[in-house]
């Protein structure tokens, strides 16, 4: 017997109401913009810039469109950040915000002809940063069961706050090995917890029009022949291998609608790293530096040169 689904008033309004758009979260990655109801996976080995990108996304989410006639081009949305890796640093996020705002203020001052452009004071900026940080909720999870229960509890939070547009998870693969071990011999048991988490996540995405960003660590590597191994250390972008090795359960694979694959190349001599991201086999490759605490995207013609 199937029961008709009941819905509370809050759920109804949360489902139908519009949430801030994630359309312009980062044109460099998502050219035409995100439509909503998307699950974006950020995949890569350690130190390839996945968490850094998430921080950049948070900055773009929680900033408003403009502040005191300074163009910030943010989404003005609220964000839930689930930290399963225990790597999130609020102080680092605050300094990223500050850098982003100061750069925008600098640009605004250059563009304005009038001499009466008023630069916001440092105290004013700090208060503004705090105001922005209020739009962020951080939840830390220590086990996959806690992650499932937390995802269930999010429904209530999302219902009550019509401004939440994004859920970020860093990282979705944090409990992979523990689940595998606890599951014993059976594959179904090993994947049981992740499947439940995905079910709930999919409900949040589809019912409440939430965009999900999740990092996935590169825990496995394909066995490669010698020729390919040499390429691994390549410093030329064209030779990089943006292969993706799936190891998560089917339900997660079904959920993912877009994937960014992360690599980096060492720039000979300078000791710097250039981060290279591929957003799929057909689309273009995005490259960026992380410099002065901020992601700096390279333009098209700079891209393939080193």
């Amino acid at each position: 017997m199937s029961l008709s689904k009941t819905e509370t008033g809050a759920q109804f309004l949360a489902r139908l109401g519009s949430r801030p758009s994630m359309m312009h979260i980062e044109p460099a990655f998502f050219g035409e913009g995100l439509k909503g109801k998307e699950v974006i996976e950020l995949y890569g080995a350690e130190g390839t810039g996945k968490s850094e990108t998430l921080l950049h996304f948070i900055v773009r989410c929680i900033l408003p469109k403009s502040w005191k006639s300074v163009e910030l081009s943010g989404c003005d949305a609220h964000v839930i950040f689930i930290d399963t890796d225990y790597k999130f640093s609020i102080l680092r996020l605050a300094s990223l915000l500050e850098r982003y705002i100061l750069n925008a203020v600098g640009r605004a001052r250059q563009n304005s002809d009038e001499t009466d452009f008023q630069c916001p004071g440092s105290e004013e900026t700090e208060n503004f940063i705090k105001e922005c940080l209020k739009k962020l909720y951080i939840i830390r999870c220590t086990s996959s069961t806690q992650l499932i229960i937390t995802l269930h509890s999010l429904e209530n939070i999302i219902c009550n706050n019509p401004n939440i547009s994004a859920v970020m998870i860093d990282s979705i693969s944090a409990f992979y090995w523990i689940d595998r071990y606890n599951g014993g011999e059976s594959f179904a048991m090993q994947e049981a917890n992740m499947r439940l988490a995905c079910e709930e996540l999919s409900k949040l995405v589809n019912t409440y029009n939430i965009t999900v960003f999740a990092t996935k660590q590169e825990l496995f590597k394909k066995k490669k022949d010698f020729e390919r191994r040499d390429r691994e250390k390549s410093t030329v972008i064209q030779e990089l291998d943006f292969e993706h090795q799936e190891y998560m359960c089917k339900s997660w694979q079904k959920l993912v609608t877009g994937r960014l694959v992360y690599k980096y190349v060492e720039i000979p001599g300078s000791g710097r790293r250039k981060f290279v991201v591929s957003a799929g086999p057909i689309s273009e490759i995005v490259t960026f530096f992380v410099e002065f605490d901020e992601i700096q995207f390279l333009s098209n013609n700079e891209k393939l040169r080193l």
């Binding site: 029961l3 929680i62 069961t145 229960i149 590169e218 010698f226 410099e291």
Partner: protein, 323 residues
């Protein structure tokens, strides 16, 4: 995973518990993931009660959402940067060891990993006046050497500082997990004043307890690595500790460069990774006989630029920067 227990809330008494068990709901996870309307019919428990139980479970077992602004205020208050006792390494690390972060030092045999631990411990206990826990997995701890470093730092009575260091020995992976749990327990209970001002946790050497568990069934070893990584990070973040761990260097699969050992899963654990480069250790004509030069490189950082290098000297007992 927690079992459902009577007394969790008023609605969850023994009869309700029995009814729920009869339809296969035993743990909190079973309860949360089931459709309550169906459960109400099958187990003949009032829907209202089920909703109340669900609310309590969600409140007790989910992660608590922290507001970014509050976390920021709290972060500003609890954040500290601890000096490693060697200026050039401090500069490389942008000030020193950060609390709420795991810093890893990887180096080959006799590269100066343990020296760096001792120098940092000495600096924290005498300059910062905070306490240090040293988890020793390979018999490397020596109170004597710490007291020599303190003496060289100009302390006339080094013994008085040594009560600020505690040493735990852990010779296998389960003992290490036990030691980390003990620290967490003591931190939470707030009974022992030593743990109140604990700021630095050192694990020297993390690789020597993990090597023996690798090579069995793959998921055993990898899950234990994940658990240790998790426990270290939770200690660092929840109690605002700086965690310093040491690791070995191995050459990668097909020769070439040396990198930190323990593989892919571990590589995601530390926030910051330093490598003591092997080619830096040679005596040159101008260095005095008892000094050894080393070069250190920062290969991973969640804060600043990587691939920077610095030089330091191992002089008789402690590390110091190149003059």
């Amino acid at each position: 995973m927690a079992l459902l227990k009577a007394g969790l809330c008023t609605a969850l008494n023994n009869t309700v518990l029995e009814n729920l068990r009869s339809v296969g709901i035993k743990t909190t996870l079973d309860f949360i993931t089931k459709d309550l309307e169906a459960v109400a019919q099958q187990a003949s428990v009032p829907y209202k009660d089920l909703l109340a139980i669900r609310r309590v479970i969600l409140a007790q077992y989910s992660g608590f959402p922290l507001n970014g602004a509050e976390l920021y205020d709290n972060g500003v208050l609890t954040m500290a940067i601890l000096s490693t006792g060697c200026t050039s390494i401090d500069e490389l690390l942008d000030g020193g060891l950060y609390t709420a972060e795991v810093t890893e030092v990887a180096g080959s045999i006799a590269a100066g990993k343990t020296q760096m631990c001792f120098t940092s411990a000495a600096s924290v206990i005498c300059k910062t006046k905070q306490n240090v826990i040293f988890v020793d997995t390979c018999g490397s701890f020596s109170a004597e050497r710490i007291s020599i470093i303190l003496e060289e730092n100009g302390e006339s009575e080094p013994e008085q500082f040594l009560s600020q260091v505690r040493c735990f020995t852990a010779f296998d992976v389960y003992e290490l997990i036990g030691a980390l749990e003990t620290i967490r327990h003591n931190k939470q209970r707030q009974m022992d004043p030593f743990f109140e001002s604990l700021k630095l946790l050192i694990v020297d050497n993390v690789a020597s307890v993990i090597y023996p568990i690798l090579g069995g069934p793959q998921s055993d070893g990898q899950s234990l690595i994940t658990i240790i990584g998790q426990k270290l990070k939770i200690l660092a973040v929840e109690f605002s500790l700086a965690v310093l761990i040491t690791n070995n260097l191995v050459s990668s699969e097909w020769g070439g460069t040396l990198s930190a050992s323990l593989g892919r899963v571990w590589s995601h654990v530390p926030h910051t990774r330093l490598v003591i480069l092997p080619h830096g250790n040679k005596h040159t004509a101008e260095t005095p006989e008892r000094e050894t030069r080393r070069e250190m490189m920062i290969v991973k950082s969640s804060r600043g630029p990587t691939n920077k290098c610095c030089n330091f000297i191992i002089a008789s007992s402690r590390l110091s920067s190149v003059r």
